[in-house]
């Protein structure tokens, strides 16, 4: 398609939480507009309606294979709320430790197996770091890849010890957890955490956790990088060097709105303290374009469908009033995604580790963002280093589990009522809004992190976060738009986005090449 020198390409993105395609409009080698299309509809919300009150605990982990524990926890929290149950301390500890294990595997599987694979893109053949990238990140062969596969499955053994299996267990139930770990189980979890931490320090960081935690500004990050070969040679060090080589910090700015539902409840009497004063290790909140973080109020969440393949309603609806009536027509010209458009206080918001770090007031990321807004580099840096924030608390919490104390407060029947579960899953804010009536699910609405990040336009035509983040992205080669891959993957679009080029016009003429170092 050519119109006034503008060209469009359609890119199909493959991913865990349903396939996505992007339509990109570009002119003179720069993206001028973007549309993010969810191209798969599986109908979980309608599937759940009329089923047993606890069925969300089994079905919603199947929404997403990489963050099923997060869905399970969110579903259970909604039922906790409806039941009005007070959780035993052990239940909070087990939930937290299992949740953190899932986050850590996700951060590193995404970072090392999926994000860093872009370093091998043919566009980078001949760059100084290319040979090193192959050595580290080649599919199923690279040194870092092989070790990451080995260690991420080790950390997941914790979920199996505490909850039977990963993925897709249903051990978190309203009132606590169904499992009754023994002393031996808990001590095994601690050994796994210790071994994993040692590996994470050696390979990913190249330094002890407490050295990394001293990095509190961009300047200190530079000092850290220059400090030793082990810092430069770690995966984090390589990421920083590569990011600078390809100007990753110039990609993927976006709206600058951040949302976190917060997560990891602090049990009473625990030695772990939150980043900000509050009941959670990582704080909930919203940051609107450079403003200070405000508290997060779920009543301000709405979903729009003007541009989504669902039967229209005006404006946005709160998830308790949400409607999910799929609608596709071969003659459709407005609607382009099976994703609804979630908005917070009417605004699109990005979510994920970076949002979490900023809202929790992490000094390094607060400093970096002040220097030029969000970008693909900072987003991925937050993801690769999030385990450093989680591992110390995880170890303490595992040690605080008391095998002699209760893990479950009995909830025999789920009473009628409405409730919600809000947490930060690995990719960011996740919410389930549930209504139970006569032991059955009367209403179920789910907003996933990818729905936030990959949202289409809303009722007012405002782009979703990664649609906006793509604007201004240079495309050196429309046949191989690696820059778009960097931007989308910096949001951790669930899985690698296998970007397939579908239609192009003649793109040999009229495109200025993007200059690269």
């Amino acid at each position: 398609m050519t119109e006034n020198g503008k060209k469009t390409i359609d890119l199909a993105l493959n991913r865990v939480e349903g396939d996505l395609e992007l339509k990109i409009e570009h002119e003179d080698g720069v993206v001028t507009n973007a549309w993010s299309k969810g191209i798969m509809y599986r109908g979980f919300e309608n599937m759940l309606k009329g089923r047993g009150a606890r069925d969300g605990l089994v079905l919603t982990p199947r929404v997403c294979g990489i963050c099923g524990t997060a869905h399970l926890l969110t579903a259970a929290k909604a039922l906790d709320m409806i039941s009005g149950v007070h959780l035993p301390t052990n239940a909070m500890l087990v939930r937290n430790v299992a949740m953190m294990a899932e986050h850590i595997q996700s951060d590193l599987r995404h970072g090392i197996l999926m994000f860093m694979q872009d370093c091998l893109n043919p566009a980078y053949v001949g760059l100084p770091l290319y040979e090193e990238a192959i050595h580290r990140y080649q599919t199923f062969k690279g040194r870092s890849v092989v070790r990451t596969i080995r260690m991420t499955k080790k950390i997941l053994e914790i979920v199996a010890i505490l909850g039977g299996q990963w993925p897709n267990s249903s051990f978190i139930v309203p009132g606590g957890v169904a499992s009754v770990p023994t002393f031996n189980d808990i001590v095994n979890c601690t050994y796994i955490i210790n071994n994993f931490t040692t590996w994470y320090e050696e390979q990913i960081l190249g330094c002890p956790l407490d050295r990394w935690q001293q990095v509190r500004s961009e300047q200190e990050l530079q000092a850290w990088l220059d400090e030793s070969d082990s810092h430069r040679d770690s995966d984090l060090g390589f990421f920083i060097r590569f990011a600078r080589l390809v100007d990753l910090h110039r990609l993927g700015r976006g709206h600058g709105n951040f949302l976190s539902f917060g997560q990891l409840e602090l049990p009473e009497g625990s030695a772990v303290h939150g980043h900000r004063d509050g009941a959670l290790l990582l704080s909930p909140g919203f940051i609107g374009q450079g403003q200070a973080a405000t508290d997060c109020d779920q009543e301000l969440v709405t979903e729009h469908v003007t541009y989504s393949h669902f039967v229209d309603y005006p404006g946005g609806l709160h998830p308790f009033d949400g409607q999910t009536q799929p609608y596709v027509s071969p003659y459709e010209i407005i609607k382009y995604s099976f994703c609804k458009a979630p908005r917070y206080d009417g605004r699109p918001a990005e979510t994920g580790p970076l949002a979490q770090m900023l809202i929790s007031g992490h000094p390094l990321f607060t400093d970096m963002i002040a220097g030029g807004g969000p970008n693909a580099y900072i987003r991925e840096l937050a993801r690769l280093t999030r385990p450093a924030e989680l591992l110390p608390a995880m170890k303490i919490w595992a040690g605080e589990i008391d095998p002699e104390a209760p893990f479950y407060q009995s909830v025999r029947e789920i009473p009628d009522g409405r409730g919600y579960g809000l947490i930060d899953a690995s990719r960011g804010a996740l919410g389930h809004w549930v209504e139970i009536s006569r032991q059955k699910i009367a209403h179920y609405q789910i907003i996933t992190p990818t729905a936030w990040n990959g949202s289409p336009r809303d009722h007012d035509g405002v782009r979703g976060p990664w649609e906006e983040a793509l604007i201004g992205t240079p495309i050196a080669d429309p046949d191989n738009p690696v820059e778009i891959g960097h931007v989308i993957r910096s949001f951790d679009a669930c899985q690698v986005c296998a970007v397939h080029l579908l239609t192009t016009d003649d793109h040999t003429a009229g495109h200025s090449r993007c200059l690269r170092v």
Binding site: R15, F44, C64, N121, I149, G164, P167, N480
Partner: protein, 312 residues
């Protein structure tokens, strides 16, 4: 020449891919390298550029590059009204691509319950089908008589997700040309001739009908808590999950996720029963004899079990 493999993701959650990453001894990297499998494309791991991936698909669909093994993860979405437009690829229904690749593949593996039987996706309003089954009914998307180029029906590896050893073991057999014997649902007997119940550490509770009626009581989960272990076929208690445990050992009922009717219509965590005895008895069991046996077994239950002394 090394046999090649193309991995296609359809109507699913990628949980089978995640499960595959948990494989141990060998892990997925060791396995593909040591059995010499040439993975042409996997959506999560491949580094093919978009243009090269499209060219690869053209070569496979056109037959220029013979495809040895096609792995399909996720169900075939045929809705709404048979159009398949609830899941598209390149602007057309994904189901068309599935059909084109299936027509060329030497062998086809349905990875996970969605691809085998429709699974969770079948329970929705999207017309989700398995490749050669729709729930218990033979047929599915490709039809009951479909045979892949090497004369085999689709090899079903159900499980939500598939157990990683089942996947790697099956691929290891296929790569060396070994044909695994299949059951009536085209799943390898090697992995699906046993019940999830077999090997469960709570078997003795089952034996003497020491029952759990609420979470955490450490009894058998079959009679009240909705456990499908004695009905569901799979190696969960033989191989264990993540090298450590499985749901039934940890006090979570088996949901029968390897079975064609998963997810069942009845509520989870509840056993449909008549006067305290499950409507669905263990696989192949005769009701009158089972009733008599259970009555006697409960009376014979030892005190150490009644008091849950084993703590398993």
């Amino acid at each position: 020449m090394r046999p090649n493999l193309y991995w296609l993701q359809c109507g699913g959650c990628s949980g089978d891919t995640m499960s595959m990453l948990n494989a141990d001894s060998p892990n997925i990297a060791e396995a593909t390298n040591s059995i010499g499998l040439d993975v042409l494309f996997h959506p999560s791991f491949s580094t093919l550029t978009p243009a090269r991936h499209l060219r690869l698909l053209d070569e496979l669909v056109g037959g220029a590059l013979p495809l040895d093994i096609l792995c399909v993860e996720g169900s075939v979405i045929t809705g709404p009204n048979g159009t398949g437009m609830f899941e598209t690829f390149a602007g057309r229904p994904k189901k068309d691509l599935i059909a084109e690749l299936a027509a060329q593949a030497g062998l086809i593996v349905a990875v996970g319950t969605c691809a085998a039987f429709g699974g969770v996706t079948r329970a929705g309003d999207v017309g989700g089908l398995g490749l050669q089954f729709a729930g218990k009914d033979a047929g599915g998307f490709l039809g009951p008589d479909f045979l892949s180029r090497e004369g085999s029906p689709v090899i079903n590896l159900p499980g939500c997700p598939v157990h990683p050893q089942v996947l790697i073991g099956t691929l290891s057999a296929l790569v060396v040309g070994k044909r695994l014997k299949l059951n009536e649902r085209n799943a390898p007997l090697e992995y699906y001739n046993m019940l999830v119940h077999q090997g469960c550490t709570r078997n003795e509770y089952h034996e003497y009908q020491i029952e759990e009626t609420d979470f955490g009581q450490m009894g058998c989960l079959f009679f009240h808590m909705g456990c499908h272990g004695p009905l569901a076929h799979g190696p969960c208690n033989k191989f264990l999950w993540n090298n450590r445990s499985c749901k039934t050992r940890s006090g979570i009922p088996c949901f029968g996720c390897t079975e064609p009717d998963f997810p069942q219509d009845t509520p989870f965590f509840e056993t449909p029963n008549i006067v305290g005895l499950p409507i669905n008895l263990p696989d192949g069991v005769d009701r009158p004899h089972y009733l008599a046996y259970k009555g006697m077994a409960a009376a014979a239950a030892p005190e150490r079990l009644k008091h849950r002394q084993p703590k398993v």
